[in-house]
Amino acid sequence: MMHCTVEDLLALRAGEASVFARTHIEACATCRAELDGLYQRVAQLKALPVLRPSRDRWPVVQTAVRVERTRRRRVWSAGSLAAAAALAGLLLLRPTATGGGLHAELSQAKQQSATLEDELRRYDVDGRVLSGRAATLVAELEDRIAVIDGDLASLGEIKAQALDADLVKLWQQRVDLMRELVTVRVTRARYVGL
């Protein structure tokens, strides 16, 4: 009498068995016992004890996290400059009849933002040692600035005439955050005597 192969038993378990296997398993106690054995073996495999690492690998990963943060910061910095340049170009090409006051405010906010960017670069943002609290604050501020940059980029894509007030507001928010960022950097730099 021909019995089920292991392939047949696995196919039976998966519900993909041949007609022969499905018919045979009904009639053959030996093959039913083999199938039970297969189910038990898999259940025992699932019940094997959970193995745990003996060494903590987080410190290595943590270093990578910090390197990645530095890389992103560089990208962010380059991205903000590009966004600022693109918006400046856009606004120069726009007609001046949309509100001279708003344009003046916008120009002022952008100028302030650029000045603060320069100031930040002078503090060599990647090379300074920050306390955990300061690093968290910096990260939070950078994330918020990144969100504003995203909004600015979206507005730049829309290029609608009526968006001046929104642009001014966003740029002013950006300037405020940049100021806070500079303060954190400068305070920390002075504190460590650099």
Binding site: E7, G37, R41, R52, R57, V65
Partner: protein, 177 residues
């Protein structure tokens, strides 16, 4: 290993923003399941720990690409399985060992040796062990395993059948069906 761990969306969002504390929380949540998976697929604790590290380096690098489609554990587990399989392939290339053979230097076991399951499992080749673990324990389909391994579905199925035949013999469960 079944992981019932649900990671809050806000934690994932913070990790995607580069928040170190959130990334550490993810590491702590998944380090044991990742290590367990790698250790079951690989032969040494050192290799498994290296895969754990490589997996999380990849998670840190790529977490912004995770779009929330499916459980985060599924995403992390796939990275870990891929890393472990890459390591197996590298080792096999170095040892010029065919994918489906017992590793060199490991004494062949006799059928009916009555090993316990954990020891018997250790006696399978790296490839067979990986297929058994991914399919029978982690619940991967043969199609998914074939994709991960860069092999055919029939390769995955035949590896599983051979592994179970061998396990059955090592456990002394009688003559082949």
């Amino acid at each position: 290993m079944t992981v019932a761990l649900a990671v809050p969306d806000v934690l994932v969002a913070r990790a995607q923003a580069g928040d170190e504390a959130a990334l550490e929380a993810l590491f702590r949540a998944f380090e044991t399941p990742v290590y367990n998976l790698a250790r079951r697929m690989l032969r040494t604790t050192e290799d498994a720990e290296d895969v754990l590290q490589e997996t999380f380096l990849e998670v840190v690098k790529s977490i912004r690409q995770y779009r929330g489609d499916g459980h985060l554990w599924g995403w992390v587990r796939r990275i870990a399985a891929t890393k472990a399989l890459m390591r197996i392939r590298r080792e096999q290339l170095r040892a010029a060992e065919p994918l489906d053979q017992e590793p060199a230097g490991r004494p062949a076991m006799h059928v009916g040796a009555n090993l316990d399951l954990e020891r018997a499992f250790e006696h399978l080749s790296d490839t067979s062990r990986s297929v058994v673990w991914l399919h029978d324990v982690e619940g991967y389909t043969h199609e998914e395993i074939a994709e991960l391994m860069g092999k055919s579905v029939s390769f995955s199925k035949s590896q599983l059948a051979r592994a179970h035949t061998r396990l059955r013999g090592l456990l002394g469960e009688g003559a082949e069906a």
